[in-house]
Symmetry: C2
């Protein structure tokens, strides 16, 4: 039976030593996040994940969700009680403003807790996860009345949220959407249409479900310019806040999916359902993007979470499974064979996953911290810089962390041999669950296009230039530091590769946009590799400082080894990515469609 232990110590190290979040005590919520509060929050959140959520992961996968004839949906055994514990702990509102029942703590803390939930039980944690996305959208674009009506209930977990974008004929290309909204004359609208792939669209965990739905108001322009966002509750809400009649929105069926069986993925039918406009008419995509950007970061976190839990279980297996002898002579001569952790190829696998996980966690927390600064700083320049970095890193966090998270789950499964293929061992589930994160909230190819087509050229390339400058300065600042050489020296050629890629694209992609499209995925991974390398350099610096202070020597030594492993074996991928980008689109686009 697989298990999960939240990486509380590593997260604390990243928050306190690497990112030094106490430097931001001037931001709202940060002074409340004193070191002891942070530690208590992470410990409690970790306990919830390990003890309440994780034990339901495998059983939730095996049982799945069931749609009853009346359209109601039953979640797997135990999910309701676990969800209640999640809600009761106040986790949904950790970083929501206090006026709506939240705790107003930094989003970076919330992100750490999201990782624990995603690692422990992805399917279950999606219910509160989607609620948080809907809360974020309503906070920014909802009217005061909408906020008062929905947010407190969602924050306390009595109601959950969803986002309804996809239709059978349109996923990425939302301009094609057909769901129709007709004004009722009383400020409300009647929505009619079919939405698919709606995660947590119907379930038995909460009293009400608050659907955020994009639709086209009758007579609105076609394409993306005529899309509006609506809030459509499953049960209408009376003026006193109590639940009224059932709205005309229902779950038509559940999808049979490869994984996340414990989360209900619904076809949602809107049959003249009553909804209210959120934000401005025809500006729905804009409003939805708040939710989507939030969700994209959360999905990147899911990739990391699955990579972490797969790693932990692979380590446990590698320590216990006896098979063969070490190449350098028996390590456990008293046993019939050595534990497989002695074998270099097994080590390579574990080192590779962990070297990714620790830097990936740093990247996620750094990005969440930038989100906090972008939303909470009083300093316009600081806000803008943080906003730039947040925008640039969002597709990287989503795309790279889910691609690699999945690949890592596969590698971890591989270590189990045939047992990895048998469902009872749980490794197959990690792979199947991790797979969705590469797809939803914009498939990773779309993330790559977002990076190369929007984030890179935005404001004359300001964000990318800032990142290149930041890393270059970091290398320069540590050029004289002997102990930092193994970390900053290899970073320079990697940064050069990134710079060369950006230059090449500037010269070759404006005139021939296919050159951008053909290199998009490689640029995303190239930037990902460099930023992970940068995170490792920062981790190494903090580890060296801690060692110098005489604390935690062994754990810090391990980090220095992991960092060197990353630099030697993973970072050099940048030159392959660059070669591919520079190959351009010619051969990629040469064949006529019929030749495939």
């Amino acid at each position: 039976m697989p298990s999960y232990r939240a990486p509380v110590e590593d997260t604390l190290f990243l928050l306190n030593d690497v990112l030094a979040i106490h430097r931001y005590d001037n931001l709202p919520g940060f002074s409340e996040a004193s070191p002891d509060v942070v530690e208590a929050v992470l410990n409690e959140g970790g306990k919830l994940a390990s003890e309440i959520l994780a034990p339901l992961n495998l059983s939730g996968d095996q049982e799945g969700c069931t749609r009853r004839e009346n359209g109601s949906v039953a979640t797997p055994k135990g999910f309701k009680a676990a969800y209640d514990a999640y809600a009761a702990g106040g986790w949904m509102g950790l970083s929501v403003p206090e006026e709506f029942g939240g705790q107003g703590l930094p989003h970076v803390l919330n992100t750490a807790i999201q990782e624990f939930g995603s690692g422990a039980n992805l399917a279950l944690s999606m219910y509160p996860g989607l609620t948080q996305g809907a809360v974020a959208a309503l906070l920014v674009h909802g009217s005061q009345e909408q906020k008062t009506t929905y947010l407190p209930k969602m924050v306390e977990g009595a109601w959950t949220g969803t986002m309804n974008l996809t239709e059978p004929h349109c996923g990425t290309d939302l301009g094609l959407l057909k769901t129709k909204a007709v004004p009722n004359g009383d400020g409300s609208y009647s929505l009619t249409g079919t939405k698919i792939f709606i995660s947590a669209g119907e379930h038995d965990l909460a009293e009400n479900i608050v659907h955020l739905v994009i639709a086209r108001i009758e007579g609105a322009p076609s394409g993306t310019k005529g899309i509006s966002l609506f809030v459509v509750p499953k049960f209408l809400v009376n003026e006193d806040g109590s639940l009224g009649e059932r709205n005309a929105v229902s779950c038509g069926s559940l999808e049979h999916k490869m994984g996340i069986h414990g989360n209900a993925t619904c076809v949602m039918n809107y049959d003249g359902a009553k909804g209210w406009l959120v934000g401005e008419e025809n500006r729905g995509l804009n409003a939805m993007f708040v939710m989507m950007n939030e969700a994209r970061l959360a999905v990147g976190v899911q990739g990391l979470g699955q990579s972490e839990v797969a790693y932990q279980n692979a380590v446990a297996y590698a320590r216990e499974r006896l098979q063969g002898r070490a190449l350098t002579g028996a390590k456990a001569p008293d046993k019939v064979a050595d534990p497989i952790i002695v074998h270099p190829d097994v080590r390579r696998t574990l080192m590779q996953i962990r070297a990714f996980n620790e830097a990936g966690r740093a990247l996620i927390l750094w990005t969440a911290l930038n989100s906090d600064i972008a939303h909470r700083s009083q300093d316009a320049a600081e806000r803008q810089a943080a906003e730039d970095m947040l925008g640039l890193m969002t597709p990287v966090v989503k795309g790279v962390l889910t691609d690699r998270g999945f690949a890592n789950a596969v590698e971890a499964q591989q270590m189990f041999g045939g047992h990895g293929y048998v469902e009872e061992w749980g490794m197959s589930q990690f792979v199947r669950d991790a797979r969705i994160a590469m797809i939803y909230e914009g498939a990773n190819g779309i993330q790559a296009m977002d990076l190369i087509g929007r984030k890179l050229p935005k404001d004359g390339g300001r964000a990318m230039m800032a990142f290149l400058t930041e890393v270059q300065s970091y290398i320069k600042d540590h050029g004289e530091d002997e102990a930092m050489q193994p970390f900053v020296a290899p970073l320079q050629p990697a940064l050069n590769d990134l710079q060369a890629a950006v230059m090449w694209l500037m010269q070759n992609a404006f005139s021939k946009p296919d050159n951008a499209g053909a290199g998009a995925t490689d640029l995303m991974h190239l930037l990902g590799n460099v930023v992970l390398g940068y995170m490792w350099a920062r981790i190494a610096k903090a580890a060296l400082a801690k060692k110098a202070g005489g604390t935690d020597i062994e754990r810090m030594d391990a980090k220095l080894v992991l960092g060197r492993f990353f630099m030697e074996r993973m970072l050099p991928e940048t030159s392959l990515r660059l070669a591919r980008i520079k190959a351009g689109a010619e051969t990629t686009m040469a064949l006529p469609a019929e030749a495939f």
Copy 2:
């Protein structure tokens, strides 16, 4: 509903134009394989795969196998009729000697048919596939009586075969096995023990099942030196060849697996089952290796098969799915959006899979041809050279083609967005089915160790030297040929990387074997990349010749583009692999086991 079309044309091109198998007309069986026979065989085999096997793939996955209370196992609906058609076509014995009911044709043809079966329906094709492995072992190591008793029935498909190696506590490390064989005094043995992960261990497709089982004869040495191979039929065979009493071997349970649900993966209980020694006492591993080597190639073929079927369905989807507009302007202005095949990132995906598939198919057929030469040539030197190449390429075919085959299935699934995650579309099944090929018949890490620890140093490195020389000569021979430059010029640095890796290992791995272990997987993929590049050069040459002859211009042009794509974007991976190998084992092995 997914579909499959056997790549008959491409296979014919590889056999006739690239490998020119008619050059081997002097070998037994090859003169019978005239061009028209080859074409007829491939067309028939392709039809069987596309029309009989493929339509049962998705339903077989959804239904799976069922063990009844009496221990019998039901395969999915339609499997029996399809299996009968497979058997009736004589496919099991395509390359088995005529004296045992086979057709004696080259193994290279059989390999092509294996690909078609694996692509169409992996779970179903495993039943005859395992039979072929068992036939191969009995052909080499069985007594005349055993051959006469079992082979004709297996070749005609009335009986199937299995291989029983794994036990709960031993997979890779077979020296730990506990299954016991006690002599009965009449030449037979009583076998007692439990075997797990036995594919096709019990089913309702055939009258009898011939288990090949490794066990330790009472009093035999411990470890791998005391392992013997036995033939243990499900029903004992009377002297007249009719079936006698039920043997004491039974299926205790079925595994719940990630994929290949249509194949029964059994726990097999041997409760004093009657068996007969195959080959010599305590030389069982030796005998089993015949079967295993055969099986490893067949598993590599499975990786390719899944990659091909995933590719075909992704192409169909990319042509139909309308979403977004081409970066260079609308390509289907009459439609609401362009088909996604216009998008460079979609193209990149398709090109990458296909550039792998065509070279992978060439590698598989080239290796199968070497197997034919090694087994059928009268010329000792020719035999040895072919045997060397076969041995060197076996771990590459198994390891690289299944790693990449799986990765390609994942990439193809990705193109479907959310639909790829929904089981009805079939893409999830390709991913789940392809996953097993990386694991069974020796997990890919074991293949890498086989390459670096056995195949590379064997006979003073003779096989690797021969390969390096062959590719170097090829590059030299085509150095003056303008049209071949895009293919041979990039091959040189890749070959240099391989050479450098081999040199580095010679200097650094003998004294420190961990340096070999830590670089094993990278060496396997480095060699794989070079040999795929070499295959592309040979394909390009044949394509240029065909074009010069004025035939098949468009198809050949497509191959030249695919070959260039491979050279530009895939082959440069060799330098990353080399960098990792040269990093050695230091950081990989530095952490104590507790630090993970």
